[in-house]
């Protein structure tokens, strides 16, 4: 989807200067492809809210001398990365620059689109209490459309089923209220509870799938744990191919938890480098270790990195501790620095950890040996084959929020059925549930409910 929009933002016609505005993530980089600063520096490296003189070039020819203002998300009118190009006011220049930007991948903005983006990004008067509820609806609707486009048919199918279930349920409740005098069969409480429970189950499943969807979107959390100096940071750097974490020979260099994302065969992993675990009197380091345990809690996969040259009974004991903390997670033992030991020693090492019955691989982070094995192990641990094209995954935070609220409402409905409260009160909670889900299933209108009743029951005294 093309997310960068551009338009001439000054009034139409010929003026002294004109302003062309681009908005959307990647706008600055896009302008970099056509803009030359005299000193050759890129806009990407410039500070937010700064102005730069230079030329706009189409191939080798100069189109115009311009001033460029750059704004970075969220501190711009739209709340996105924004570039404003002040060029000379001739229509030809305006049009040429606009065309050039479109060639480079921007899209012409629809009328009001900057405002709309500003609105959707929470830049406009949104603190005003009266607008908040509607904003949420709007954001999720926009997000809804995007999500629907992105996802395969399964998602909308699932929502359709949920919607039909709800419609049938609410019809039965309303039937008993508005048509109590009719000679039709009303659902008994058991039937109602059955239906409500089915709806609840469906909503709960979708809600749970959010965690999965979230993982897909944000990366599967992987904790890198191990003794100090086992080579965790080196491993992370090897995976990242850049020196992000601080690496040194001094034990306990990594005191802060560092997060990095890498993509392996298109699957995103979020690496959490942690401080090394060892017996220590250093207060700061102790705190770091505590934090490590907490981070392990948040991970789905734990890479327990072991210095092959120092494997001992001590490390076996520590591994035991970690294994206990990771019972509900995927634990992978990574023997590092295996370039420094013999094949025989490696074999013994493998045997030493036989009793843990977990996946073991050996690498050398520093020499970049067998890193592919580690990557394969990560992919296996991510258990991705479980997601089929037709599977429903909620990955949108707003959907998740709506579903969670709907879940609370439908649970109240079930409680109400158990307590045998009257349908008009049940209906209050059902409507709340429908309103929450309305943002993602499409609202269910009264006319639709009545239509459903008339099509299924013979009404008419």
């Amino acid at each position: 989807m093309n997310n960068i929009v551009c338009a001439i933002s000054s009034p139409p016609g010929v003026g002294g200067i004109a302003v062309i505005r681009l908005s959307g993530s990647g706008s600055i980089e896009l302008v970099d492809t056509v803009f030359c600063k005299p000193n050759g520096k890129k806009l990407k490296q410039q500070a937010a809210n700064s102005i730069h003189f230079g030329t706009i070039k189409q191939g080798e020819s100069v189109l115009d001398d311009v001033l460029i203002s750059i704004f970075r998300a969220p501190h711009s009118f739209t709340g996105e990365d924004t570039v404003e190009i002040s060029c000379h006011g001739s229509t030809y220049i305006q049009q040429s620059i606009l065309r050039l930007l479109i060639d480079k991948g921007a899209r012409l903005a629809e009328a009001g689109e900057f405002t709309r983006r500003a609105f959707l990004n929470g830049k406009m008067d949104l603190s005003q209490a009266e607008a908040v509820a509607d904003l949420i609806a709007s954001e999720s609707r926009a997000a809804h459309r995007m999500a629907l486009n992105q996802m395969r048919g399964g998602f909308s199918d699932e929502l359709k089923k949920l919607r039909t279930g709800l419609l049938d349920f609410v019809s039965l409740v309303e039937l008993e209220l508005d048509f109590s005098e009719e000679d039709v069969e009303f659902a008994d409480r058991g039937q109602l509870k059955d239906l409500a429970s089915r709806i609840e189950k469906r909503i709960a499943e979708l809600t749970r799938s959010f965690q999965m969807g979230n993982a897909l979107k944000k990366g599967i959390p992987v904790a890198l744990a191990g003794e100090t100096n086992a080579g965790k940071s080196t491993l992370l750097n090897t995976l990242l191919n850049e020196d992000r974490a601080i690496v040194s020979e001094i034990h306990g260099t990594t005191r802060d938890v560092i997060e990095e994302r890498i993509s392996i065969e298109g699957v995103s992993f979020r690496f959490i480098d942690t401080a090394g675990i060892r017996d220590t009197e250093d207060t700061i380091e102790k705190l770091g270790i505590e934090r490590t345990y907490r981070k392990i809690e948040q991970a789905d996969i734990v890479l327990w990195v072991i210095d092959s040259t120092q494997a001992s009974e001590h490390i076996e004991w520590l591994t035991q501790q970690i294994a206990e903390k990771t019972e509900d997670k995927k634990l992978i033992l990574v023997f590092n620095k295996t370039d420094k030991i013999s094949g025989e020693e490696l074999k013994i090492l493998y045997q030493l950890f036989d009793r843990f019955n977990v996946e073991r691989i050996h690498i050398s982070a520093k020499k970049k040996l067998h890193i592919a094995d580690l990557e394969k192990a990560l992919l296996r641990a991510a258990q991705l084959p479980d997601i089929q094209p037709g599977d429903v995954v909620v990955s949108n935070e707003r959907h998740y929020e709506s579903l969670s609220k709907a879940l609370v409402s439908i649970q109240r409905v079930i409680k109400g059925i158990d307590e045998n409260i009257s349908g008009d009160f049940l209906s209050q909670d059902i409507r709340e549930c429908m309103n929450h889900l309305g943002e993602i299933t499409g609202q269910i209108s009264t006319d639709e409910i009545l239509g459903n009743i008339f099509s299924k029951f013979c009404i008419g005294k």
């Binding site: 009328a111 609105f119 709007s138 609707r141 926009a142 508005d178 409260i421 209050q428 006319d447 013979c458």
Partner: protein, 624 residues
């Protein structure tokens, strides 16, 4: 003879009578034009008023100073509070009425209302100057001038009745239809359509074997429609009788289907899905082997019975053959067969929320002309149209009810925002704030508004004030009075409720579902005494206090939702945006907004096809 009026109301049915009385009572010199002044307030279909959601509307009409409740109480020959086993939002009053008495009561009211005159004639043409209505002329060639005109034409505009293959022009049996107005309005740019409704046969009660039917009696408690203390039921009460169709009935009906105007293409317009003819029932729900029917008495001195559930436009011989298979009707003697009727209506999105047409100033529509059905729906609209017609003549802020204020508000807002695709009937499920729109407190919601308009007589206002005072004192008493376990536990046990361990305020005790205030009073002499001190409308006051306390949690929650949503209602929209130029709206939204031209953002949000993101675009453009 006066030929100049403030307000002229065309049509003397349920909408027209309310409109005429409201305008006159507010001070307008008013003329009611009816084709037959012996049929003022005629019940064209069943001899019954109220029912679920409709009964609430009657209470609202009464609370606003209208007359339907008073007429219905005085002419009632059976009264029931429906849905008593459900929550208080669902309690719905309904009456069977003496058809002649109903007309007499209305006639008495209409002919004794100051400033209100009646002219018996048919309107042929509206007189229009500068996009405003200024008067009308009649078939008798009389011309009347008016500052405002309310059209309540019922089924009379282009009315066409179907008895099998026999088609008769008319608005009701033996009453002529009216022509000209539809054509004139269409030429002025109005969009008109056709709707269909039907009515069952009328039976001579002497031919019914009631022993083969089941009796349904009315309630005989304090409930009634009118909030006025001196209005009560005056007639002897009677029963309705229940019988059923069977396979043989259906067989007879099926034999006649090829001659059914509904199925042979003779009738093409839309009928109400919730009120299908008997032939529609057996076709649509062919698996059902039996349908319930009600024999409803038409009056104290009449032998006429209305066969509820058997509306039909099949040829008379088919109807008769089918009727004879029904238990109790083997020897049936008919007064007349059922029939279907088609009539003109105007798409109500052509109206503003005050029921004035957008195209012609000072022209108002109310009732079936707007695509609704039902006496109650008509009455509610008539009342509003009469009030606003008066306001148009004499100045003041237009009178509109919100969706959280009245079913009438829901009704009008639905009509002008959504339009209709079948005859519109009220259901409680149409209301977002069902718990707020209860029948027991319609006076609390609406009588102060009627008072402000000058429509509430002093006895109505003082009845409300006394009720509020007494109710408030009773609620305070219940909130402050604590009961000791020893005094109440035997009672709780007898109701299957759990024992108290500590003292408990009566208001908290009342939250328990197993008993009500009256039961509690039987167990607690102090409470009983306290209740007996209420000098006035005792049962009503006890009931409304109980509702307030028992369901306070739900009521509070609904109020919060309403307050949140009402913010959109306060943002005016009409005339502020040129929808055609707003590219960020969907094409459908642009078209719908142009067509309906909503008054507020809240109204816009209810138009089908307008999405929440469209609303947000509007809010952005309005600088919100």
């Amino acid at each position: 003879m006066d030929f100049n009026y403030d307000v002229i109301v065309v049509g003397g049915g349920h909408a027209g009578c309310e409109a005429a009385c409201a305008a006159a009572n507010m001070g307008s010199r008013t003329l009611l034009i009816t084709m037959d002044m012996n049929k003022i307030g005629q019940m064209s279909c069943n001899p019954a008023v109220g029912g679920i959601a409709k009964g609430q509307i009657v209470r609202e009409i009464d609370a606003l100073g209208g007359y339907m409740g008073i007429v219905a109480d005085r002419s009632a020959i059976q009264f029931r509070m429906l849905n008593r086993s459900k929550g208080p939002a669902m309690w719905s009053p309904r009456s069977q009425n003496d058809r002649h008495r109903f007309i007499e009561e209305w006639t008495r009211i209409v002919s004794n209302t100051p400033r209100l005159s009646i002219w018996q004639d048919t309107v042929a043409r509206l007189i229009v100057r500068d996009n405003a209505i200024v008067g009308l002329s009649t078939l008798l060639g009389v011309e009347f001038r008016a500052k405002a005109v309310v059209l309540t034409t019922g089924t009379f505009l282009g009315g066409l009745m179907h008895f099998g293959a026999t088609q008769l022009s008319g608005g009701r049996v033996s009453e002529p239809a009216s022509f000209g107005i539809t054509e004139q309005l269409k030429s002025l740019g109005f969009v008109a359509g056709r709707m269909k409704t039907g009515t069952p046969c009328r039976i001579d009660g002497r031919s019914i074997d009631f022993s083969k039917t089941a009796e349904q009696q009315g309630d005989n408690d304090f409930h009634k429609f009118s909030f006025l203390p001196n209005i009560r039921r005056e007639l002897p009460q009677s029963s309705c009788w229940i019988t059923y169709t069977n396979e043989r009935t259906h067989e007879e009906l099926r034999k006649g289907l090829s001659d059914s105007p509904l199925y042979n293409g003779q009738i093409t317009s839309i009928g109400p899905r919730y009120c299908p003819s008997i032939e529609t029932k057996i076709v649509t729900f062919s698996e059902k082997t039996s349908h319930q029917l009600f024999l409803e008495p038409e009056g104290v001195d009449s032998q006429e019975y209305y066969l509820n559930g058997f509306s039909s436009s099949l040829p008379f011989p088919v109807q008769l053959a089918a009727l004879k298979t029904i238990p109790g009707l083997e020897q049936v003697q008919l007064y007349r067969p059922g029939y279907a009727i088609e009539y003109d209506f105007f798409d109500p999105t052509q109206l503003k929320p005050n029921l004035e047409t957008k195209l012609l100033k000072n022209l108002f529509f109310a009732g079936q002309i707007n695509g609704t059905t039902g006496y109650e729906e008509a009455g509610g609209q008539g009342l509003l149209a009469g009030i606003n017609a008066h306001i148009n003549c004499h100045g003041g802020k237009e009178f509109v009810l919100r969706r959280d204020e009245a079913y009438i508000g829901v009704l009008v807002d639905d009509l002008v925002s959504k339009g209709v695709d079948e005859p519109y009937r009220m259901f409680t499920s149409r209301a977002e704030y069902r718990l707020t729109l209860r029948q027991d407190d319609a006076d609390v919601r609406l009588t102060p508004k009627a008072d402000a308009l000058g429509l509430a007589a002093s006895d109505r206002v003082s009845a409300l004030n006394k009720k509020l005072l007494e109710q408030g004192e009773l609620v305070t008493f219940l909130r402050n009075f604590s009961v000791k376990p020893v005094h109440i536990n035997p009672f709780l046990r007898s109701c299957g409720s759990s024992d108290l361990k500590h003292g408990c305020r009566l208001s908290d005790l009342l939250l328990r579902p197993q008993f009500g205030l009256a039961d509690l009073a039987e167990a607690l002499p102090v409470l009983k005494e306290r209740i007996e001190q209420i000098p006035f409308l005792r049962e009503e006051i006890v009931e409304s206090a109980e509702v307030l306390l028992k369901y306070s949690g739900y009521l509070e929650r609904e109020k919060l939702v309403a307050e949140k949503l009402n913010r959109l209602e306060s943002i005016p929209l009409r005339g502020r945006l040129d929808y055609a130029t707003i590219k960020s709206l969907s094409t459908e939204a642009r078209q719908k907004l142009q067509k309906v031209d909503p008054e507020t953002v809240g109204q816009a949000s209810r138009i089908p096809g307008i999405s929440p993101s469209d609303i947000n675009v509007l809010l952005v453009l309005l600088g919100r």
